[in-house]
């Protein structure tokens, strides 16, 4: 087949940020399917709650302290997270490295609190369906915290090597910050469901 050249793309960049990058769309798609998973477990929670004669089933509401502490930590983490995202888009290596180290530390703190949070749910997973649900909700979110903490660790290590000096790696840092937004936003919703729904007047 005869080719006719009508367009040159030779001067285009090899990386981009946000919706320019296919990786951003991939991240968004994963966020969407994971959010669907959260929504379905929350839906199951309400489904069983409305079938039950009382809620929480044979248990006091969970202790507010650890969950609230995680909420505060996660909300505060959004400040360095957004700064990091901005620095990544400016491809400022020094600041990105600082931001990543800060995010590693601040990503680890909620995990420490989380260990105690399971105990303060005041019900075991095998007591009844309410217990099973709050454990799964908290477990699912913990899985996300651990995964993103792991991702951030690897990315931090990477940005301290020669491989870091590539536009695409800065784009990765930005997408990682985007995913952290989701982890935080998910907790805001889960926090209301786990801690405040059982406290609503019947």
């Amino acid at each position: 087949m005869r080719e006719r050249r009508v367009l040159s793309v030779g001067d285009l960049p090899t990386y981009g940020f946000g919706s320019q990058s296919p990786m951003w769309w991939g991240t968004l798609a994963f966020i969407t399917l994971e959010a669907t998973g959260f929504a379905l477990v929350i839906g199951s929670y309400f489904y069983l709650a409305f079938l039950a004669p009382n809620w929480p089933l044979h248990a006091p509401p969970p202790d507010l302290l650890p969950g609230t502490l995680v909420l505060v930590l996660l909300l505060v983490s959004e400040i360095p997270n957004h700064l990091l995202n901005r620095w990544a888009k400016k491809t400022d290596m020094t600041k990105v490295r600082i931001g990543l180290v800060v995010m590693c530390v601040i990503g680890f703190l909620p995990l420490i609190v989380r260990v105690f949070e399971f105990g303060e749910l005041r019900i075991a997973w095998d007591t009844n369906a309410y217990g099973s649900l709050v454990w799964v909700l908290l477990g699912l979110h913990t899985l996300h915290l651990v995964t993103d903490f792991g991702d951030t660790l690897v990315l931090t290590a990477l940005m301290f090597t020669r491989h870091g000096y590539s536009g695409r790696r800065f784009s990765d840092v930005s997408d990682n910050a985007f995913f952290w937004d989701f982890v935080v936003a998910a907790w805001v919703v889960l926090y209301l469901v786990i801690y405040w729904f059982p406290r609503l007047p019947a």
């Binding site: 087949m1 080719e3 793309v9 296919p22 998973g37 069983l48 997973w125 369906a129 099973s132 690897v154």
Partner: protein
């Protein structure tokens, strides 16, 4: 400076065609030998593997159906025990839905989408390789389990309490549930790849209204997967937890509810039908133009119908639960929505009929399968409207009427177009044509065999024969018709055997296809058959819906990509305006090892909850190595 200057490399507008061809072939090659075989990320090789594997599982599921028909051919059959029969129908349904139908649709998408939209590889090609390995491991796991007498035995929807901690047999329901995890991880990964590929990697100029209808169909399907499949992952995980660590999600004694299983399962299970059906409609819209010699009638109406089917598919799940005693108002809502989905489906059918009507039909095998599809699917659609009504559904619930209905919809709606697709795209995939003569025999045996097998089941159902019985007494007067059905199933089976024969014979001695044997209009036919590793010598530019029909013999192209590194064009979502020269990942062995590690974790968690902990740690190692840059040209950009 935080970003090192990127190397200029060798660009495709700086060298001649022959040199470019050599360089691109080297850049995009899959090395020969074992390593190359396991490490390749070429969407065509992975797509081909996916297709072959899915057909292998089709054969297993088909053979289990044949054993069931042998058993039911006579009253009081004793060929297999009730327990084996339970496993046979469960494995048949499970395999058909999870290991054949969904994977084969995604397989074709993996192969075709990058070619049809004019790019060099799928987005996230390593994830693509990973998804294939995870799929194979999941399929092998459940069939090895079956060979060891631990196959699924509670039906393909594995209802609790039958599959729950009290009544579930041994580890059978757990193996089923983890098979779900394997296949859904794989399907979700492919869905993400397809969405990113179609959104970002379309040829410059391929605006939304120039996307081939097949690509629209798999794009909509990918979104349906994104919202539907998490439901079955959530529910099957809950099932395993109920059985392994004594949670109570489905235990009514402790605040759970067995109906929660049904809601979650069918919230996935109904869209699942459309995950299979929508790509098949894409095949029909993709095949028709070549055999009617005109573009498909009603492009916009068809796209809107696809999107509305995608949405509506989420509003139907309760019609699988009409017999559970739900509130009447709720049931009425789902009756209405079930009937509503017939509207966009009907619009599609009428657009295709109009296309044939206005065109100059060429009756080759792919087109015969399309016609067979229209006939069969309409019957399945009509019985679908019937069972959407609650009183009728209650009468035929769990009878062979339902078995007949969903086989008409699934085989008629999906397998017929799929076989048409095999005949249509086989030349592109292998470089050789399938035999027309064998093809016609193949079509007529499958078409007549299918109708003779499944049409009488409507009658058996109305006569009261329940599904999932391992035998029946002669006094029920179902014997003659069952014998007829069993004999007809042999005809259907012979049809599929002919397909295999045709493929084997044609691979050796089929006519050489050339780039565009059907004289079709979409971009996959602008490449040699089979397409080289890099797909297109220079990236195509699109100004029309059927680019090859616009100015025959001429291809508009964009230049400026590197030929010494894997690069492709990434553009804007709506208008496909080029934004980046996007580096595309090299081959890698780590997706395979990641899949093995993840597989060990999945299988381990059937036996101990701690597998989740050590399995995650185990999986982290290959995943990090997968991500870590290796200093290839693509990494350095």
């Amino acid at each position: 400076m935080s970003v090192r200057p990127e190397p200029h490399g060798i660009r495709d507008d700086e060298i001649g065609d022959a040199a470019l061809e050599r360089l691109l072939a080297d850049t995009w090659k899959t090395p020969k030998g074992v390593w190359g075989w396991f490490a390749t990320v070429d969407h065509k090789i992975i797509g081909r593997r996916y297709i072959v594997t899915a057909f292998f599982f089709l054969a297993l599921a088909g053979l289990s159906a044949l054993v069931m028909r042998l058993q039911l051919a006579r009253p009081d059959g004793r060929i297999v025990s009730p327990d084996v029969y339970d496993q046979l129908f469960s494995m048949h349904g499970t395999t058909m839905m999870f290991l054949f139908a969904v994977p084969v649709m995604e397989a074709f998408a993996v192969y075709l989408v990058p070619l049809m939209i004019g790019t060099r590889n799928i987005a996230f090609p390593r994830l693509n390789a990973f998804s294939y390995w995870v799929y194979v491991l999941g399929g092998l796991m459940i069939w090895v389990a079956f060979a060891l007498n631990s196959g699924a035995d509670a039906g393909w929807f594995s209802y609790v309490p039958l599959a729950g901690p009290i009544y579930g047999n041994g580890k059978r329901p757990d193996l089923w549930a983890q098979m779900v995890t394997f296949t859904e991880v794989s399907a979700l990964a492919v869905a993400v790849e397809i969405i990113a590929t179609v959104f970002k990697q379309r040829a410059p100029g391929m605006t939304l209204d120039r996307i081939p209808l097949y690509v629209w169909a798999v794009l909509v399907t990918s979104f349906v997967i994104l919202f539907a499949m998490p439901a079955v992952m959530v529910s099957s995980s809950m099932l395993i937890m109920d059985r392994l660590i004594n949670t109570h999600f489905f235990n009514p004694g402790n605040g759970g509810d067995p109906l929660l299983w049904q809601h979650l399962f069918w919230f996935f299970g109904h869209p699942e039908v459309y995950i299979i059906f929508i790509p098949a409609t894409g095949f029909v819209s993709g095949i028709l133009p070549a055999f009617t010699r005109r573009p498909v009638f009603g492009y916009l109406a068809l796209v809107l119908a696809l999107i509305s089917i995608g949405f509506l598919s989420f509003g139907l799940w309760v019609h699988h639960m009409f017999a559970t005693g739900l509130p009447q108002l709720g049931e009425s809502f789902f009756t209405a929505s079930s009937m509503l989905i017939a509207v966009p489906s009907g619009i599609q059918i009428f657009c295709w009929i109009a296309t044939i009507w206005l065109g100059k039909p060429i009756f080759k095998t792919p087109f015969l399968f399309v016609l067979g599809f229209v006939f069969t699917f309409v019957i399945g659609g009509l019985t679908g409207v019937m069972v959407a009504s609650v009183p009728l559904d209650l009468q035929v619930h769990d009878t062979y009427f339902v078995v007949a209905h969903f086989h008409y919809v699934l085989v008629g709606g999906a397998v017929f177009p799929l076989l048409g697709a095999v005949y249509y795209w086989f030349p592109k995939i292998t470089g050789r044509m399938l035999s027309e003569r064998l093809g016609r025999w193949n079509f007529w045996l499958v078409f007549l065999g299918f109708n003779a097998t499944f049409f009488p089941m409507h009658v058996l159902g109305i006569q009261g024969m329940p599904r999932r019985v391992f035998t029946y007494p002669d006094v029920m007067h179902w014997s003659a018709m069952n014998l007829f059905v069993s004999l007809a199933s042999l005809v259907l089976f012979t049809g599929f055997v002919l397909l295999v024969v045709n493929v084997i014979v044609s691979l050796r001695s089929g006519a050489i296809a050339g780039p565009n044997p059907w004289n079709a209009g979409t971009l996959e036919w602008a490449t040699p058959s089979p397409a080289p590793g890099y797909n297109f010598l220079r990236m195509p530019v699109v100004t029309h819906r059927e680019p090859l029909w616009h100015k025959p013999g001429e291809l508009l192209v964009a230049t400026g990509l590197r030929a010494d590194a894997r690069e492709l064009i990434s553009g804007t979502v709506a208008d496909a305006k080029p934004q980046m020269r996007e580096p595309s990942p090299e081959n890698s062995i780590w997706p395979l090892f990641s899949a093995i590690a993840v597989g060990i974790a999945f299988v381990g968690s059937i036996y101990t909850p701690w597998a989740v902990v050590w399995g995650s740690a185990l999986s982290a190692v290959p995943l990090v190595l997968w991500f870590w840059p290796k200093g290839t040209p693509e990494d350095e950009e």
